[in-house]
Amino acid sequence: MIPNAERLILGAWTALICVFMLGPLVVMFAISVTASGYISLPYEGISLRWYHDMLRQTVFIDAAINSVVLALQATAISVVLGTATAIAVTRYRFPGRGIILMLAGAPLFVPLVMTGLAILIFFSAIGIGGPAERLLVAHICLTLPYIVRMVSVSLAGFDWNQEAAALNLGASRLRAFVEVTLPQILPGVIAGAAFAFIISFDDVGISIFLTGAAYKTLPVELYAFAAFDLTPMIAAVSVAMILFSAAFVLLIERLFGVQKVLAGEVGTKNPAA
């Protein structure tokens, strides 16, 4: 293939991706600032009335708080469990290791709807926990694979003799982990946590089965609202969610450089090897 044709095709491909990935977001943003009373592009003028409207809807505010709290809780627990799991399966070979790896990855492969339904049936059967607890368990399952994956990647090539060296020099096991291992896998832990937070915050598939009348997450509330009352406010809420997620990723990027983590510049290979 001659380079020019190659460049042309690559350019066209990139343009298509931009149009189809970013196009809907642009349309959504346009709709959210329409002055019309129905879903349309802002032909009749630009207005922030739907954002005003949104802020007066306490159901959305409550749901947003629920979503943030849930995402924080799920992420915090997942980070601890996922990091421990990643260390166990990376460092040791033990009976059941394959099963643990499979279980930790399962939520990635099983349709969310099935996971949600299964958790609902399970909790109904044992009859404990309200919607908040059920959602927390579900979201831990949902987010765990991302932490395990990201931390495992940063542990690849890690020289465990470093921990032995720390113990030999008088560190406790906890101290050895905190001073020697954790600083080296931190980019992976943070990237995993960022993924976990966004995944939890945006989830509809599992959550829709587990929310109750008195406890809804923002995406579920939005979904329910859109089902019977289609106003441009939906667009305003969506834009707000997108901005929140984007701001979150940007913050993480600023603080820790997620790009570096995702580019694979994680973990510190033994320099002497």
């Binding site: 003799n161 320099p271 002497a272």
Partner: protein, 358 residues
Amino acid sequence: MTSLSATDAQYLRLSGITKHYGGIPVVNDVSFGVTRGEVLTILGPSGCGKTTTLKMIAGFLAPDQGSIAIDDKRVDTLSSHQRGAAMVFQNYALFPHMTVRRNVAFGLRMQKLPAAQIAREVDEMLARVRLDPYAERYPKELSGGQQQRVALARALIIKPKILLLDEPFSSLDAKLRKQLRVEFLEVHRAFGITSIFVTHDLEEAFAISDKVAVMNGGLLEQIGSPVEIFARPRSRFVADFVGHKNLISGDVANGVLTAGALSMKMPAGTANGPTQVTVPVHRVRISRGPVSGDNAYAAAVSSVTFLGPAMQIGLEIAGTAFEVYSPSTAELADLAIGDRVNAAWDAGDVTAIPASGK
């Protein structure tokens, strides 16, 4: 060395150390002592139990049986850092996210010493191992030799009684290994620290050690000075491992071994009966002219390999194949296959290998 106290002669003492993995003994009833200030190398092929033995001394593994004492104090029930045995790891296991200074300071920080004292001791240590210009660098910015000095400094700063080194050169090329060997010996001399070194490399073991302990299949085969190990192997395995080629089985009667058409005088006091002996490759003298020795023969040259300072020469003596190493003298420069030479060695160079040694 001046007179040693009983404790100094057994500064490190392993008694009946045994370790099983899944019912298989990896280290089997190993006992030896190490004299204060000396370098002892545990030498053996991979899987012989040498690293397991070192890990038990370091406290990373607990022996199933036996005891370990350092400076007359039993340590096998103590945790790693309470034993006074500091470890230098394979590939050094330096902390890549810490500067040289912080790597070296780690052990002192764990002891919760005052910051000013830590800074002072680290500075002193860095100066002693000539790392002061590199204090603020990270390990990956250092050469192999500098990394080794960081590893040694990090271990030595906690003032251990014993230094343990687990094949620290194994992943390096031959030239660097030799350089690091010299550097290690310099540090060893400067600190005079009792050191246990693990390697599978014969030349390395001989070059750095006061004493060598040869292990095979979890058993301690022989312990002694490099010269003893090389010249007087006490088992078939050690003889093979240190490069003996001329292992001959025969019958001894009245101080003479007979193996087919070959007969050879044995050292005085050799018992009668079936015996296996080794004739060390470096003790055979050969010449086109006459050579003297207790055992002198006419030999036919069957192979010649020029190795630079030495020549590896295959000989046939009384129907038995021999391999010898001889200096590359002018006389032997044009030695060719089929040449007739004279070969001789002394009765005292012949070493009987005990039957128990397989």
